[in-house]
């Protein structure tokens, strides 16, 4: 009987090294050694969009598109989008911005309701929150027409497109652009990144979606984990260079990945 499932040794080692370096940097932060992190522009953009909505007296929309949380490829960006929602809803409560979060799946709806409710409680503004109007469950299919219609009738001034985005990325961002909303878009769905980058005023590309959730958590031990992820990037860059050299020299490394 083998100790490790065949073909998964390299994956296991990669996870151990990268997870180890993330945990190392988090532990280091506990002892006060906090790495210097580049400030993500999106943090200021969230304030800017919500501030614009307050000044214009119009709502901000927080859209997440596909939130089927039983799908592994959708789960991670959705969790990241919820983490950013927690921060955004709290800032919206603080600034007094109108906020609307339509959700297309039951499980995600219950989580989004809890996140928004907690954000308003944290600001002691639960009296200002009408939860059934702020977080709305819209069955998938009905959501497109409802959201587009309300984007125009509400004349929304700002929109966040974060999470796992598919074909609706074009439909919603294009309408938001026509309404004149200021937009922040971010997804890890590679084939829809170009749409969000091209149409939105500001964008988060791939990994930045996850980084923003950690960055806005207000906990230095959490944001320090981003430095651990950079170790993974260095390893990846090193392996790409090494692999290119070996392949050029005619040495195959395919065997390594079947161990």
């Amino acid at each position: 009987m083998t100790l490790i499932v065949e073909g998964r040794l390299v994956g296991l080692l990669t996870i151990v090294v990268i997870a180890g370096s993330i945990i190392y940097y988090m532990q280091r932060a506990y002892s006060g050694k906090i790495p210097k992190l580049r400030r993500l522009q999106a943090v200021d953009v969230i304030e800017e969009i919500l501030g614009r909505c307050v000044e214009m007296g119009r709502p901000a929309y927080y859209l997440m598109d596909t939130v089927t949380m039983d799908n592994p490829s959708v789960l991670a960006p959705t969790v990241a989008a919820f983490q950013i929602l927690a921060h955004t809803a709290r800032r919206a409560a603080h600034l007094g911005s109108k906020f609307f979060v339509p959700v297309t799946q039951g499980l995600a709806y219950t989580i989004a309701s809890e996140v928004v409710d907690e954000a308003y409680r944290a600001e002691n503004k639960q009296d200002e929150l009408k939860l059934d109007e702020t977080v709305m469950y819209l069955p998938d299919g009905a959501d497109r027409m409802y959201i587009i219609n309300h984007m125009w009738s509400d004349e929304m001034a700002g929109a966040f497109f974060l999470g796992s985005w598919y074909h609706k990325a074009v439909i919603f961002t294009e309408n938001a652009a026509r309404v004149g909303a200021m937009m922040l878009g971010g997804t890890d769905t590679t084939h829809n990144i170009p749409f969000l980058v091209a149409i939105c005023d500001y964008s988060l590309i791939g990994e930045e979606l996850y980084a923003l959730g950690a960055y806005v958590s207000e906990d230095p031990t959490v944001s320090s984990s981003l430095a651990g992820q950079d170790i993974g990037k260095f390893i990846a860059a090193l392996l790409i260079v090494l692999g290119s050299i070996l392949i050029t020299l005619g040495m195959s490394i395919k065997g390594l990945f079947s161990m």
Partner: protein, 217 residues
């Protein structure tokens, strides 16, 4: 049990234990009872999702009923929703294989969904018109690359200008492919970081949990 234990500690501990079980099962050969436990746990996701779907539908129906009761703006659309919901759900509950129920799904819900999906084509065209303008060097490069790839993909493109075939293929495979691989590596690292933070219970905003609360002013 205290509220803190129920709302904060139990979800975090459960997430960590179940998450680690799934990872261990992926990398290490496990005895049959552990594999069977993991299969059962995964089926819980479907059950919880179904329960949450019912909850969401109930909340939506209450919202629309209130809207009708208070005659809020566009309340008449809510009547359509409530009637459609009661009629369709009633038929489905009585017999899910009922021909009228299936007819509603096949001839109303599906075509509406397909029609809405097809809107994407028009929005993509409109978005492309908005984006593909040579305002600066970056957008000029994007415009030229997009035109080459577009010409490569349409049948007449290669007839009009044959070099678009190798050029378009090169753009898709080399600069675009390399960029996408970089993104995928970055995204995978981001997911790993997120997983570690969630399993360690350091990041739990997605559970609606925030430890500190501002004192009332």
């Amino acid at each position: 049990m205290s509220e803190r234990l129920i709302k904060m500690q139990i979800p975090v501990i459960l997430t960590a234990i179940i998450g680690l079980l799934m990872i261990i099962e992926f990398f290490f050969p496990m005895p049959a009872p552990v594999t069977s436990l993991n299969v059962t746990l995964r089926s819980f996701v479907t059950i919880i999702s179904a329960a949450a779907l019912i909850l969401g539908t109930i909340v939506l129906t209450i919202y629309h009923s209130k809207k009708i009761g208070t005659r809020k703006s566009e309340w008449y659309y809510s009547i359509v929703y409530v009637l459609a919901f009661v009629f369709t759900a009633g038929l489905g509950v009585l017999d899910v294989r009922n021909t009228t129920f299936l007819w509603i799904y096949n001839n109303m819900t599906s075509p509406i969904g397909a029609a809405l999906y097809s809107l994407t084509a028009f929005y993509i065209t409109s978005a492309a018109y908005r984006v593909l303008r040579a305002r600066n060097w970056n957008s000029a490069v994007l415009l030229v690359c997009a035109l080459i790839v577009l010409l490569m993909l349409i049948p007449i493109g290669a007839i009009l200008f044959p070099p678009v075939l190798p050029l378009g293929t090169w753009i898709r495979n080399i600069p675009s492919g390399a960029g996408f691989r970089g993104m995928i590596i970055g995204t995978s690292l981001g997911i790993m970081g997120l997983g570690v933070r969630v399993f360690m219970g350091r990041q739990k905003e997605h559970l609606g949990i925030r430890e500190e609360r501002r004192a009332p002013e």
